[in-house]
């Protein structure tokens, strides 16, 4: 298989932007997937995928959420079996039955959600399940040191994992994979949990790996990142490969359009609709919680802010700094120790969740599977969820399933929920369609305040644009929105006001018109506080970071 | 899916119910018949091999088979039965032509009363209870009298002056055992300390739970009690097992002569004596009467004076106190001592 890789003639007339012209000699590609098809329940099936990854390169696999990237990688890692197509590793065609097969052939995967045991040390986590390689004692420790030094990972073997930050944990995951002899690493959305500074550090690590002759497959939908770190790019859309690109000759916009197949939506909010009528006022909110060690900590401390009618308040922060608790306190799912919550001039501090919902709080939860849906219930019952006391769902204590069904049909239609019917279970929809159903439901009861936690996470670009439109439109009509998002572009683009949350406190505020994701990022790590002023810098970095905010 | 299956299931049910309530002309009692097949015996929980109460009844049946050539059919109750279950069991026996039909255990008293009415030509026997009916032989025993003697023996044999009673279920029948035992012990040794405990307040499982009895007995032994009388059917085996594990401790058995029982062979050196309830005699008497065409009916009490209850002497452990026991027995038989039936 030494033939030069040329741009593939793509099945449906899609065109590659530019063929990869880089030819790393005559060595067989590290990974070659040909004609991979996977019919997989619920999400878009992989269909006739072609992917060639050369040894010693960072190869980005990009595509919007739900395009089939993760499925493809699961196939390569032996977690799923393809229905059709072949996998060729280093010139040898193979069949991978289990991840163990893949690991045996030098493929390692770093999952989006880390798979580490918190109460064990780094060493223990690394050797767990690989005790045969170098034992569990000093030999293993030496090996870990060796790998860590070779790739500049800076991993300390005897620290407890629970004491590590997110970025360190990620490095442990990478080391774990290398320890098992991986020559090809798959990183599934590695930057999703990192702040910009940490992303840069990760990329430095990846370059080290590459320099040592390892191959990295990097999955992402963040175009700026992809362009800055990858040597080759393969784009997946709707389950199939639609093209390849060379980063040096591609702009984020081109790449984005290839990814989406259309003009990329922008989260930007144009005209301001902010009024001076307060809708939600939170004052002096304090909440303590007992953590897993039994220590009582303040997870919310002195939180106070006001959202006016027609205003979107964006809350930035690394996950786990109290955003979820704040949302739950406003929703009445947690009882704060002190402070007041006022909605539309009414004190709702003591009101139960249902009353708050009836009073006009719409809620798009962060974890839709845990808080937003009944996965095994049909769509129309999910439409009732959270609004069972309101019309059209019920009358005088009795459910009105006919009206609820009709209204579900309307939501499906108006919010473009792709489903064959309203009797299917929520679990059978893809993430984006589940989210559209939730948004449709919450917007159907004329909310005064919308709490949107990561409203477009795991949602395809088309739906993303739609959800943004809905938020903007509601805002024009006087809706107040509390927006929490890890996607800093979304946050900056949609918000009228920005706050940064760090360790349970609101530590900084910023003007979305001028702030950059980097500046926001440093406040998120606690490095900056107070009012963040944008300082003029060479703009190259900030413009390239994400494809979304290109002008 | 729920919707559709509800409808289909509803259809099936309707059909099933319709069948249930209409398609049945014949009742099971109408299809029986035939001549007597021998004795039908329904055991209480524990079954024939409880080494105790049921086994004693079974001996009577065996004897009848050997000496009179009467066949038999034995059935056993399960834990947690209802009246309907018991009725059905007796019904099946009567309907299949067994005569007499004997319910072993007072739990059968109401069901015997009911079923006996449906089978006027069959003679029924009820052990340990009294049930009204022309064709019912109600067999009761002087358990309190036998237990009194056990109390005497226990008080004489206890080195620590501490004796214990374990009842299977706290009901009127077992209270008779308790009352007699306590009275006998106190009358013999006014310093003796008697501890009486039950395995279950009101669950018949108490006659079928050796593990619980074992625990109870261990608890008593730990508190220094060295003679334990257990009236708990099959559960008694557990208690005897526990007592056998301790030197110088004595168990007093119940219903059958437990020293003689092969199943308890290992522990027999610790079985001081047993309050024998001659259920076998009563059962045999009833079977014989039916066989002879002069069925016994009405109340029959098997007391100490008739040999209906007695204290076993196997093993010879109570030979040294024989005189005192005989004296106590005489007082009861003569009516000098009146034994209480409830504590």
């Amino acid at each position: 298989m030494a033939e030069p890789r040329l741009p593939r003639s793509l099945p449906r007339g899609e065109c590659a932007i530019k063929a990869s012209t880089k030819e790393p000699g005559t060595a067989a590609p590290a990974v070659e997937l040909a004609g991979i098809t996977k019919r997989f329940p619920g999400v878009v099936a992989n269909h006739d995928i072609h992917l060639t990854v050369h040894r010693g390169t960072v190869h980005a696999l990009c595509g919007e959420n739900g395009a089939g990237k993760s499925t493809l990688m699961k196939i390569l890692y032996g977690m799923q079996k393809p229905d059709e197509g072949t996998i060729t590793l280093d010139g040898e065609q193979v069949t991978l039955h289990t991840p163990a097969d893949a690991i045996g052939r030098g493929i390692g995967m770093v999952h989006q959600h880390f798979m580490l045991a918190d109460n064990l040390t780094v060493l223990e986590n690394v050797v767990l399940g690989a005790e045969k390689l170098h034992g569990i004692g000093n030999k293993a420790r030496a090996k870990i040191k060796e790998i860590s030094d070779a790739y500049g990972l800076g991993v300390r073997p005897d620290v407890l994992v629970e004491d590590l930050g997110v970025a360190d944990r990620q490095r442990v995951e990478i080391l774990k994979v290398l320890y098992r002899g991986a020559r090809t690493l798959i990183l599934d959305e590695p930057t999703a949990v990192l702040v910009p500074q940490e992303v840069d550090a990760l990329f430095d690590n990846l370059r080290e790996l590459k320099a040592e002759g390892l191959t990295v497959i990097f999955i992402s939908h963040k175009l700026g990142e992809v362009l800055s770190v990858a040597d080759d790019i393969t784009v997946i859309r709707r389950g199939t490969t639609v093209g390849t690109a060379v980063p040096s000759e591609t702009t984020p916009k081109q790449l984005a359009e290839l990814m989406v197949g259309e003009e990329l939506p922008s989260p930007e909010t144009r005209e301001s609709t902010v009024t001076d009528v307060p809708m939600l006022t939170v004052d002096g909110l304090h909440l303590s919680a007992t953590d897993s060690d039994g220590v009582v900590r303040a997870v919310l401390d002195g939180i106070g802010f006001t959202i006016h009618k027609g205003e979107v308040l964006g809350l930035a922060g690394v996950e786990g700094n109290g955003q979820a608790e704040l949302v739950e306190a406003i929703m009445g799912m947690r009882t704060p120790d002190a402070g007041t919550v006022t909605l539309d001039d009414a004190d709702i501090t003591k009101a139960p969740t249902r009353k708050r919902r009836e009073d006009g709080i719409g809620y798009i939860p962060e974890d839709r599977h845990r808080h937003g849906l009944l996965l095994e219930a049909p769509l129309w019952e999910n439409r009732i969820l959270g609004h069972v006391t309101e019309r059209p769902n019920s009358k005088r204590g009795l459910l009105d399933s006919k009206a609820a069904r009709q209204d579900t049909e309307r939501i499906v239609r108006e919010y473009d929920v792709r489903t064959p019917g309203i009797e299917v279970t929520a679990a059978s929809l893809s993430g984006g369609n589940q989210q559209k159903l939730i948004v449709g439901r919450e917007m159907s009861h004329q909310p005064k305040l919308l709490i949107a936690a990561h409203p477009t996470r795991g949602v395809d670009v088309g739906a993303q644009a739609q959800i943004w439109d809905q938020i903007r439109e509601a805002r024009r009509e006087g809706l107040a929105v509390l927006l929490i998002s890890a996607d800093l572009d979304e946050l900056i683009g949609l918000s009228d006001t920005l706050r940064v949350m760090f360790r349970g406190r609101l530590v900084a505020d910023a003007d979305p018109a001028t702030i950059t994701p980097e500046e926001l990022g440093s406040a998120m790590t606690g490095a900056a506080s107070g009012h963040l002023e944008h300082t003029e810098e060479p703009t190259e970095d900030s413009n390239e970071r994400e494809g979304g905010d290109s002008e | 899916m729920r919707r559709v299956s509800t409808i289909t299931v509803a259809g099936v049910t309707t059909a099933a119910l319709a069948f249930t309530l209409t398609a049945c002309g014949e009742s099971s009692t109408e299809s029986g018949g035939g001549k007597s097949k021998g004795v039908g015996l329904a055991f209480d929980v524990g079954g024939r091999d409880d080494h105790s109460f049921n086994e004693s009844a079974a001996r009577g049946v065996d004897k009848a088979k050997k000496e009179l050539g009467v066949d038999n059919r034995l059935m056993t109750a399960k834990n947690g039965e209802t009246e309907a279950d018991r009725e059905q069991r007796l019904n099946s026996l009567a309907e299949a032509g067994y005569n007499p039909v004997i319910g072993v255990g007072f739990n059968y008293s109401k069901s015997i009363e009911k079923v006996a009415k449906d089978f006027p030509k069959t003679t029924f026997g009820i052990v340990d209870s009294v049930a009204p009916g022309n064709n019912i032989d109600s067999i009761t025993f002087g358990e309190h009298e036998g237990s009194y003697l056990a109390g005497v023996a226990a008080a004489l044999k206890s080195k620590n002056h501490k004796v214990g009673f374990i009842g299977g279920v706290n009901n009127a029948l077992i209270q008779k055992f308790q009352a007699g035992f306590e009275q006998g012990a106190k009358d013999t040794d006014s310093n003796v300390q008697v501890t009486s405990q039950y395995l279950y307040p009101n669950n018949d499982k108490g006659f079928n739970d050796p593990a619980a009895a074992k625990d109870k007995a261990k608890g008593m032994l730990d508190s220094g009690i060295d003679v334990i009388y257990t009236a708990a059917g099959l559960s008694g085996n557990g208690s005897i097992e526990a007592i056998a594990g301790q030197k110088d401790a004595w168990a007093i058995g119940v219903d059958s002569d437990q020293y003689q029982q092969p199943g308890l062979e290992k522990y027999k050196d610790h079985i001081l004596t047993s309050v024998v309830k001659n259920v076998d005699v009563a059962v045999y008497d009833l079977i014989k009467s039916v066989k002879d065409g002069k069925p016994l009916t009405g109340e029959h009490k098997y007391l100490l004076k008739d040999g209906g209850v007695s204290l076993a002497t196997s093993g010879g452990f109570i030979d040294d106190i024989k005189d005192k026991i005989e004296a106590a027995k005489k007082k009861i038989v003569d009516g000098q001592v009146k034994v209480h039936t409830s504590p």
């Binding site: 449906r12 007339g13 329940p41 619920g42 999400v43 878009v44 269909h47 709707r238 197949g261 929703m331 969740t353 249902r354 919902r357 939860p365 808080h371 009944l374 095994e376 219930a377 009732i384 969820l385 959270g386 069972v388 009795l398 459910l399 064959p420 019917g421 299917v424 679990a427 059978s428 | 899916m1 729920r2 559709v4 299956s5 509800t6 289909t8 299931v9 099936v12 249930t20 049945c24 014949e26 009742s27 099971s28 009692t29 059935m75 834990n79 947690g80 009246e83 309907a84 059905q88 007072f106 739990n107 109401k110 340990d128 049930a131 009901n171 009127a172 029948l173 307040p201 009101n202 409830s342």
Partner: protein, 368 residues
């Protein structure tokens, strides 16, 4: 949609058929292993079970089972395992019998008073477990088991001659209810069917209506499906735990009524025990569905009725217990298999349909 419905129908039948076939096969093997002819056993069961007196017996037996299953199912529908139905119905029946034995009103007052006392006592007993769960976080499985034991002891204490009970031969029971408290019977031949079967049926209808047609029922089912989603949707999970335990206990209070008002007219040492546990098996077997549980209760009664006959025919007494266990296992497994298969099939179908849609729109884009 049409095709989907047909699939649903097939799936709806698949589970019970699968379960029955598997259960029959396994029990046949077991019976054959004991050296007996399984087919003759089935023959005996069907013959004996279809006799008219057997059918009446089965219906009468199934009535308390059904009520018990309803009580358990209320808990199941919101992921609560009320293992204490057994203690609840007994203590409820006991105090109802005590109250009923002391009063002498006309039947139209007397019977409702007894039933209400039973429901209240049952509800209180179960409510204790609910209260412990929401205030102290005690798992309801533990607390209801403990309450079973406590209930038995409470009954044991009061059920003594001179306390709340009287002695009749070797039986001790509460004083007889007055004749006015005798529940009506349905005059069937050769024996009557308990009138309480009507109450059981009404309870089944009420169960269905409350759970499927009311806001309250929706909230309850929501908690059962996802506690976190329920909380986010505005259901007070704690209050729901207490309410459903109270309801479950109230229904449990009815379990002893067919016996108390239709057969024994007192609560004695011979009052049936263990129906609460049977209810768990029946709720599992009937998939918490009101009709399914009715069928399951009848099936249970059928097995018990015919089981004695099997013993009579020389089969081991334990066979029926084995059959019951095997059926419950088969049903639970079969439903789980079919449920998973159905979910997968549905996801696949949705995926395919959407892929087809996407394919169409892709083509449209290309040609445009």
């Amino acid at each position: 949609m049409k095709r989907l419905d047909k699939n649903k129908l097939i799936l709806g039948f698949a589970a019970p058929v699968l379960a029955i076939v598997a259960a029959l096969a396994i029990t046949s093997i077991i019976i054959a292993a004991t050296g007996k002819d399984p087919f003759h056993a089935y023959q005996v069961m069907v013959d004996f079970g279809s006799k008219s007196d057997s059918q009446i017996w089965i219906v009468n037996k199934a009535t308390p089972y059904y009520l018990s299953a309803l009580a358990v199912a209320i808990g199941f529908r919101m992921n609560l395992f009320n293992i204490g139905v057994d203690g609840q119905y007994r203590i409820a029946a006991f105090f109802a019998a005590v109250v009923g034995g002391k009063l002498a009103f006309p039947g139209i007052v007397q019977i409702p008073v007894i039933i209400i006392v039973a429901m209240l006592v049952g509800a209180m007993w179960a409510g204790l477990a609910g209260l412990l769960k929401v205030t102290r976080g005690v798992n309801e499985v533990i607390s209801t088991i403990m309450l079973n034991a406590i209930g038995a002891s409470v009954i044991g204490y009061f059920l003594q001659d001179g306390r709340l009970a009287v002695k009749e031969g070797n039986l001790i029971h509460t004083p007889y209810l007055p004749d006015s408290a005798h529940f009506f019977e349905i005059p069937t031949q050769p024996k009557p069917v308990y009138g309480f079967v009507v109450v059981a049926a009404l309870a089944g209808v009420a169960y269905w209506f409350v759970l499927n047609r009311t806001r309250f029922g929706f909230d309850l089912r929501t908690v059962g499906r996802s506690e976190s989603a329920a909380q986010a949707s505005g259901v007070s999970v704690k209050r729901m735990v207490i309410t459903s335990m109270l309801l479950s206990g109230a229904i449990a209070g009815l379990v002893g009524m067919p016996t108390l008002l239709g057969v024994s007219y007192n609560y004695g040492t011979d009052f049936p025990t263990g129906i609460g546990f049977t209810g768990i098996a029946i709720a599992l077997l009937g998939r918490n569905n009101p009709v399914g549980m009715a069928l399951a209760a009848l099936l249970w009664g059928f097995l018990e009725r015919t089981g004695t006959q099997l013993e009579f025919e020389g089969y081991a007494q334990e066979i029926v217990g084995v059959i019951q266990g095997v059926i419950v296992l088969c049903v639970v497994i079969a439903y789980e298999i079919v449920r998973r298969y159905g979910l997968k099939a549905q996801q696949r179908k949705v995926g395919e349909e959407l892929a087809a849609q996407a394919g169409n729109s892709d083509k449209a884009e290309v040609s445009a």
